[in-house]
Amino acid sequence: MHLVVCVKQAPDTEALIKLKPDGSGIEEAGIKWVMNPYDEYAVEEALRLKEKNGGDVTIVSLGPARAMESIRTALAMGADKGIHISDPSLDRADAFVAASALAAAIKSLPHDIILCGQRAIDDDSGQVGSILAELLGVPQLTIIMKLEVAGGVAKAVKAIEGAQVVLESALPCVVTAQKGLNEPRYASLPGIMKAKKKPVDVKNAAALGISVEQKARIIKMMPPPQRAAGKIIQGDDPEAKARELVRLLREEAKVI
């Protein structure tokens, strides 16, 4: 079984995000970069499928030079080889351009299942997996919490509002991972040593033959709206404070 996993490097969830003074982007200095957490579930699921069915796991990542760290992390977890799509012209890639680059790299690989995180925690757009599936002409199973593959068919569970849906798809297909799919393993020390010797191809946009023209364009970034200072309800008696809170919610905030 040929498994491909798309991974992206993103700021750690605890990272403070500061904007450049002109609002053109974020200040990258001082940020701790990690593999996007949803992509870790995707890598883990691919490794489990390989352990069960045999085959190989290829990691594909689009990003600047530092993205190589996330590729090495995935290789240390047990993936076999990597492709690093690195090109300054792709630094501001939108979802369509990013998916085009990933699709161009994956087309030349044998692939039964392509796994992605359901979204990246930096731009939070959640589009790349589906666009990639469309560009590869394969079906998609998105935001998946449980996956079973047998007899050339993928069976998956996803949570929708108020229900769980069980889906089935022919292979090849794209699966995007939701939290809960599995518990990602840590890279072992021998794994980390071995990862250094695993092959990683570096490709640029020209080698992939893709257009880098973005269709969704950020014109300005800004800090979140400030909330007005809140009111701390004073007093020592829990009952009195509870009554005052309920009164304020009814009479002042008008939300209950």
């Binding site: 969830t13 605890e14 403070l16 995000i17 974020i26 957490p37 979802a95 369509f96 925690i121 939070d124 757009s125 959640g126 589009q127 666009i131 599936a133 469309e134 560009l135 394969v138 079906p139 998105t142 935001i143 069976k155 949570a159 509002e161 108020g162 229900a163 769980q164 849906v165 069980v166 889906l167 089935e168 798809s169 939290k179 809960g180 973005q214 269709k215 969704a216 364009r217 950020i218 014109i219 300005k220 800004m222 800090p223 979140p224 909330r227 809140g230 009111k231 701390i232 309800i233 829990p238 009952e239 509870a242 009554r243 809170l245 309920v246 919610l249 009814r250 905030a253 939300v255 209950i256």
Partner: protein, 325 residues
């Protein structure tokens, strides 16, 4: 030339979902500014009669593909049908809900229509005849204004953020043939397991009561559930509570959970880690109950109670119950 503002309405089991009216109202406001019409695409089985309900919220025309192939949502059938009618009629703007289904459908459509989309938007405006969509990034640690250079200009809208406003228009149903061959579909829905007890869905709830690490154990969530029952609220949890196994993953609010925008969010025993704040900071009113006066949640709260939640929450439940009666 592309002109109209379109939405893809969402229905389940033959009932339009509230978010459909929210995006219809958002579309109407933009269309009025652009002096154009609003059309909706509606897919389902036996759903043609729902067109009028969309008309009530400002939709002029409803393009309906009705048939058994649309009984349950599948990406393939729905995306092919929407893409077909969109390519034929060429709207300028296409809005979808950022619901679970809407996220799946909208992103596949971005691929099919080779355009761009601003996901999970919280504000829309028109500037120089173009859509400008504001959306949170980095888990709402910052926001971005996005324009789309492709056609149609696509945006998905966060549920519970845009007001549904009645604005009666014709809502004329126009049937179209999506020409989907069921035999060509590579995916199918095997089963839909509904959650029992009519639980309120977090992303659609008007009120949410959430518990965190301060709950000390799964057994204490009864306190949260009692308050939620009185307020007609959904129950949420922090990552700490979910990772400890106290609550299911589907209850998690935050960066690696759900993003919610209720009218009222009551955080009990939640310190307010940045990844939790990310998921609930677009709530209209936030209440924090925590015994640590320095907990970061208080910086986001409109109302704070610094006290032991085990003493305060039952009193809130009691006071709210008396008020409701």
């Amino acid at each position: 030339m592309a002109q109209e503002v379109w939405i893809v309405a969402e229905q389940r089991d033959g009932v339009l979902r509230k978010v459909s009216f929210e995006i219809a109202s958002a579309a109407r406001r933009i269309a009025d500014e652009l002096q154009t019409d609003v059309a909706a695409v509606l897919l389902g089985s036996g759903v043609s009669a729902l067109a009028g309900a969309l008309g009530k919220y400002g939709v002029d025309t409803v393009y309906v593909a009705d048939g058994p192939v649309f009984q349950n949502y599948t990406t393939e059938a729905y995306a092919a049908a929407v893409a077909k009618i969109v390519k034929e009629k060429d709207p300028a703007i296409l809005l979808l809900p950022a619901s679970v289904q809407g996220k799946d459908l909208s992103s596949r459509l971005v691929g099919k229509l080779a355009t761009g989309m601003a996901s999970d938007c919280t504000e829309l405006r028109i500037e120089n005849g173009k859509l400008v969509a504001r959306r949170p990034m980095y888990a709402a640690k910052c926001f971005a204004d996005v324009v789309i250079d492709g056609t149609p200009q696509m945006a998905s809208l966060r549920p519970n953020v845009f007001a549904a406003v009645e604005m009666p228009k014709a809502g004329t149903a126009v049937a179209f043939d999506a020409a989907i061959d069921p035999a060509s579909l590579k995916t199918k829905v095997l089963e839909i397991q509904k959650e029992s007890g009519g639980k309120v869905e977090l992303t659609e709830a008007n009120v949410i009561v959430s518990g965190g690490r301060g709950m000390k154990g799964p057994e204490n969530y009864a306190l949260i559930e009692e308050l939620a029952a009185v307020l007609g609220a959904a129950v949420g949890a922090s990552r700490a509570a979910v990772d400890a196994g106290w609550r299911p993953q589907t209850d998690q609010v935050g960066q690696t959970g759900k993003t919610v925008s209720p009218n009222l969010y009551v955080a009990c025993g939640i310190s307010g880690a940045i990844q939790h704040l990310a998921g609930m900071s677009s709530s209209k009113v936030i209440v924090a109950i925590n015994k640590d006066p320095d907990a970061p949640i208080f910086a986001k709260a409109d109302y704070g109670v610094v006290d032991d939640l085990f003493k305060v929450v039952p009193e809130i439940t009691k006071a709210a119950k008396e008020l409701m009666e």
